[in-house]
């Protein structure tokens, strides 16, 4: 069909334009990060002559991005490990074990999924403050676990439902306890789902602003994203240094995206196809 082919090429032009519009802001930022302040003021668009790392080094050490980076890394790692452990335990039980109250519990988890953080942020901050967890690492980790646990339980449950019940039964007949089945069968079989849920949880936590802002008021406890925002005040007239800070915060995500795009997309779409 010549008409259809023409239509396809006609669509390709604006789509390529949109792709450029999607990428250009990032390229622009990376380019600015490589410039000196003088170069930037004189001409903000021309490509930076060479790769200069001064700005990056300045943001990394001078503005404390290193500290924020470590904070984020520790918090996200702990939160994701806990999410995957608790999510797979509950998911296995809800999907493949029969016990009284299981459907009620599943509904409760689903209800948790539909409560946005904004709706509970005031009372949650108060609960955290009352239990002395505000401005502590465990406090923020727990807040992240609570925020993304319903989603994690939901996806792990739907994943474990795709694993035949006969496998569980066979393992039980072979003399495994329930915990043995979890450790030896369900955990290994859950790896693909754990990977894509884990990456998504990690992205959510890494990218979060609001929860970190509320749970970690002191400057030395800032996560990387809060740190990036703080750079704004610090480098009001040094745009290249500011762009460098932004770049530092974006690069880990870019790396994850380049290597694990498929898993991220799987996690995002799981809710739409399995729900």
């Amino acid at each position: 069909m010549p008409g259809a082919r023409l239509a396809r090429w006609a669509a390709a032009v604006p789509m390529a334009g949109l792709a450029l519009a999607t990428i250009y802001p990032l390229v622009f930022t990376a380019n600015v990060a490589m410039k000196t302040r003088r170069d930037y003021v004189l001409d903000r668009f021309s490509p930076a002559g060479s790769l200069r790392w001064d700005n990056l080094a300045e943001a990394w050490t001078g503005a404390g991005m290193a500290r924020y980076f470590v904070n984020s890394f520790v918090i996200v790692t702990c939160a994701v490990a806990l999410l995957l452990l608790l999510g797979s335990m509950a998911g296995f039980a809800l999907a493949r074990l029969r016990f009284r109250g299981s459907s009620m519990i599943f509904l409760g988890c689903l209800a948790g999924l539909f409560i946005p953080f904004q709706v509970i942020m005031v009372p949650l901050t108060r609960v955290m403050a009352d239990s002395g967890l505000i401005d502590t690492y465990p406090g923020l980790i727990l807040a992240y676990v609570a925020q993304y646990l319903p989603f994690t339980v939901f996806l792990m449950t739907s994943h474990y439902r795709t694993i035949p019940a006969e496998i569980v039964d066979a393992a039980r007949i072979d003399g495994n306890t329930v915990y043995g089945v979890y450790r030896r069968i369900m955990l290994p079989l859950g790896v693909p789902a754990l990977l894509s849920v884990g990456i998504l949880d990690a992205l959510f936590c890494w990218n979060d602003v609001l929860i970190a802002l509320l749970m970690m008021p002191s400057p030395e406890h800032r996560t990387l994203m809060i740190g990036v925002n703080a750079l704004r005040g610090q480098y009001t007239d040094d745009v290249p240094a500011f762009a460098s800070g932004v770049l530092i915060a974006a690069v880990p995500v870019l790396m994850i995206y380049l290597f694990l795009q498929r898993q991220i997309a799987d996690g995002v779409t799981a809710g739409s196809t399995k729900g």
């Binding site: 069909m1 259809a4 239509a7 396809r8 090429w9 669509a11 789509m15 949109l18 792709a19 999607t22 990428i23 622009f28 600015v32 608790l86 335990m89 509950a90 039980a93 074990l97 299981s102 409760g108 988890c109 209800a111 948790g112 409560i115 946005p116 904004q118 709706v119 509970i120 942020m121 005031v122 949650l124 901050t125 108060r126 609960v127 609570a146 646990l149 339980v153 306890t177 329930v178 915990y179 992205l203 990218n207 602003v209 609001l210 509320l214 994203m225 925002n229 704004r232 745009v239 500011f242 762009a243 974006a250 995500v253 870019l254 994850i256 995206y257 997309a265 809710g271 739409s272 196809t273």
Partner: protein, 298 residues
């Protein structure tokens, strides 16, 4: 005579019976204590006072104050704007996904490129666009080169909200695109082939084959995009406008944060939270009903 304790096999059986509860307990405890319980606490809290009246019941006082607060009015008006823009925010990724599904030249690249901003933090997106949209930034120089502008993207109260929504759509349309593509992969391609053989135009194919087959996906995208607009723009507002200029870019979530954190009015913030929750429930249910009805007509 010694009373025999439970035999080891009986003890084992009991442990096995309890095992499911042990497995779900930590997750249930956390969800109940840190999500469901705070929801109830917050609603309760919204009927009490702030400051000197801390803890004393004030009835509907906070809600009345909200009803009279111009900033809260702007927040709700902006929610209305988001609802109006929602069909656009769904149609754009839907159309793009259709073309990618039809294998437009370069479709593999587009998928990866479009999805990328969706994994970036709103803080990073906001920071980048602060650079791009500055009064003397790249976009205005581009406009200047064709003789238009400059536009005060973030400083003009009539424009700023559209700018922020535009950036939000730029950053998240890839998410909806990927969901649409997953929907397309379940589409029965013989239907499309049949339509093509019968001489259907592209528009007819979209209208009569693709949309009816993807009702569930479209429903899902509508609801998740709406939730995204109402609950994940805080980062952008925080970095790009701080609610300004003149409060023009307030959304309920920003209002809640502002009242709680800056104005020290947690009870008033709780009332706003409750309103937001009700708004989301109503909008969500309304959408599902409308889309169900539309789906039935096809």
């Amino acid at each position: 005579m010694r009373i025999a304790g439970p035999s080891s096999s009986a003890r084992k059986a009991r442990a096995e019976r309890l095992a499911p509860y042990v497995l779900v307990a930590p997750a249930v405890l956390i969800i109940v204590a840190l999500r469901l319980w705070p929801l109830a606490l917050g609603v309760n809290f919204s009927f009490t006072g702030d400051g000197e009246l801390n803890g004393t019941p004030v009835g509907l006082g906070n809600y009345l104050e909200l009803a009279g607060d111009p900033l809260f009015h702007i927040s709700l008006r902006n929610v209305g704007l988001l609802v109006l823009l929602l069909p656009l925010a769904v149609a754009i990724p839907g159309l793009l996904a259709t073309f990618i599904y039809l294998r437009v030249p370069g479709h593999r690249v587009y998928r990866s490129v479009y999805f990328f901003p969706a994994v970036l933090s709103p803080v990073i997106v906001g920071a980048i666009f602060n650079l791009m949209l500055g009064y003397d930034g790249p976009l205005n120089s581009l406009l200047g080169s064709i003789g238009a502008g400059p536009v005060d993207w973030l400083g003009d109260p009539g424009i700023a909200m559209f700018t922020v929504v535009g950036v939000h759509v730029w950053a998240t349309f890839g998410m909806a695109l990927v969901v649409f593509l997953a929907g397309f992969s379940t589409l029965d391609s013989s239907l499309l082939d049949a339509a093509r053989v019968d001489g259907a135009s592209l528009r007819q194919s979209i209208w009569h084959v693709i949309i009816p087959s993807l009702t569930r996906t479209i429903q899902f995208v509508f609801v998740t995009t709406m939730i995204g607009m109402l609950t994940s723009m805080f980062g952008l507002l925080f970095v790009m406008t701080s609610g300004g200029p003149e409060g023009a870019t307030y959304l309920p979530e920003y209002y809640i944060w502002h009242q709680q954190g800056q104005m020290n009015r947690p009870a008033l913030a709780s009332a706003a939270s409750t309103v937001l929750f009700v708004v989301m429930l109503v909008v969500g249910l309304l959408q599902i009903t409308l889309l169900r009805r539309a789906g039935r007509q096809d």
